[in-house]
């Protein structure tokens, strides 16, 4: 199968595709999230020890996973942007950062609300919570660097370098925090999920994760569209596209 992938690397040809895919993935995300919540909130059984409080894991676990994945995806796009100097890859990386930060924030927030009934405290210096907190800081760093550099091309490349340095560090951070946590086991509570997980619980988590993926793809594509509009204003093709749209609607 021969596809000219570089055709998609140009903002001009990507703009309309992004619009269509964004809509499709958005719809899919809504359906999956609905299904996942039904499984999670009604079908999955009440946990023997934690009662119904555990049900927050249907949000918590997928967002925590996504926070991690999105950073790696962002670093991969950054590597492409630096290696091939493609504008679109940098735009993808830029569009991913806020969603990654959102996922990390949600994971921390839901973690706190899970911790309260389960361990009696909103925040414990648990290894996963701590490394997610550092991950959130890494996202905020990328976003802050982006907004501190005027020139878009420079911002693209600077953020790409930062994302790559961060990506090399993420496993080291996870490992070091894990190590730190096991050494201080006495003073903290481990947040490992229940050893036996009912099939329906697992299914709920997986469906919700799929929904989070679809949501991420949808929102990122639509954010890329906004970035394209912002950056390419003044370039002829955008105006003609908008005029053509306006003409066809009337």
């Amino acid at each position: 199968m021969l596809i000219n992938w570089f055709r998609f690397a140009s903002p001009v040809s990507f703009y309309p595709i992004a619009g269509r895919w964004s809509f499709a993935f958005g719809a899919l995300a809504a359906v999956l999230a609905g299904a996942g919540l039904v499984v999670g909130l009604w079908i999955a059984p009440t946990d023997a020890t934690q009662g119904d409080a555990y049900r927050i894991i249907f949000i918590h676990v997928p967002t925590a996973w996504m926070a991690m994945f999105i950073y790696l995806v962002m670093a991969a796009w950054s590597a492409l942007a630096l290696g091939f100097n493609t504008r679109l890859s940098a735009m993808m990386a830029q569009a991913l950062a806020p969603t990654g930060a959102l996922m990390a924030g949600l994971a921390l927030w839901t973690g706190a609300f899970w911790g309260r009934p389960t361990w009696g405290t909103y925040w414990a210096w648990d290894a996963r919570m701590t490394s997610t907190l550092i991950l959130l800081f890494l996202y905020l760093g990328v976003i802050a660097l982006r907004s501190a550099i005027e020139e878009p091309r420079r911002a693209d490349r600077a953020c790409a370098v930062l994302a790559l340095v961060g990506a090399v560090n993420v496993p080291i951070i996870y490992f070091s925090v894990q190590w730190w946590n096991t050494l201080h086991q006495g003073s903290s509570i481990s947040l490992t999920a229940a050893p036996k997980m009912a099939m329906t619980m697992l299914a709920g988590i997986l469906i919700m994760t799929a929904a989070a993926w679809c949501y991420t793809i949808a929102i990122v594509l639509s954010r890329v569209q906004a970035i394209i509009v912002e950056r390419e204003r003044g370039a002829g093709w955008l105006e003609s596209l908008i005029e053509w749209r306006a003409g066809s609607e009337h």
Partner: protein, 210 residues
């Protein structure tokens, strides 16, 4: 392209932020020729110079050195370029002599003490050579920049407003330096509001508009 073109720019365009600075800028220089770039403030003179020096990538187009296209920070350009930019690139804490010594060491052709002394003498700074640059005037700093050009032995000179803060005497020194440089077969690209103090025969002019 003529066979002996040393430096050539083809269809250069530059953007800053969302604004287009210039499009379709082209020139070609042969050995011993200088290009003077003129234009109002904000027309992209410095950006053009930085593109030619290999500090910035153009939005489109290319710069060729001896017929070969160059990339930003191209090693071939870095071997030949001497840039006198907006800022004199001097360390306030070091003396004029130490600054020049450091620069020639950086370019890989460390100049002898005497050569540095001669170069400083040529720009009438021998008395100030042991003073920290901090206490020198703007014009004196620019003169150290001239001494650096004389010492650096580079083929491609890129000068951003070389006459700024120079008095008549120093402007004459710049003219002499350029004469020697061009006579040796060097090339020069300068952004300047005033004509360079060299013979018009070897000078091309490129006007950027805003």
């Amino acid at each position: 392209m003529a066979v002996n073109d040393v430096l050539e720019a083809r269809a250069l365009a530059a953007r800053r932020g969302f604004a287009t600075l210039f499009v379709d800028v082209a020139f070609s220089l042969q050995s011993g020729e200088a290009l003077v770039v003129t234009g109002p403030n904000g027309s992209g003179k410095t950006t053009l110079l930085r593109i030619v020096a290999g500090l910035t990538a153009p939005a489109s187009g290319e710069v060729r050195w001896r017929g070969e296209p160059t990339r930003p920070f191209d090693p071939r350009l870095r071997d030949v370029v001497a840039l006198n930019g907006h800022w004199p690139a001097l360390k306030d804490e070091l003396t004029a002599e130490e600054n020049l010594d450091a620069w020639t060491a950086l370019t890989g052709q460390r100049a002898a003490r005497d050569a540095i002394a001669v170069a400083l003498d040529d720009v009438a700074l021998s008395r100030q050579r042991r003073l920290p640059v901090r206490v020198l005037s703007q014009g004196q700093r620019r003169r150290i920049g001239l001494a650096r050009l004389a010492l650096a032995k580079r083929t491609l000179w890129i000068l951003d407003e070389p006459l700024t803060a120079l008095d008549n005497e120093a402007a004459g020194m710049l003219g002499d330096l350029l004469d020697v440089h061009l006579a040796r077969g060097g090339v020069c690209v300068a952004a300047s509001h005033q004509p360079l103090p060299i013979g018009a025969a070897r000078t091309q002019t490129l006007a950027l508009s805003s």
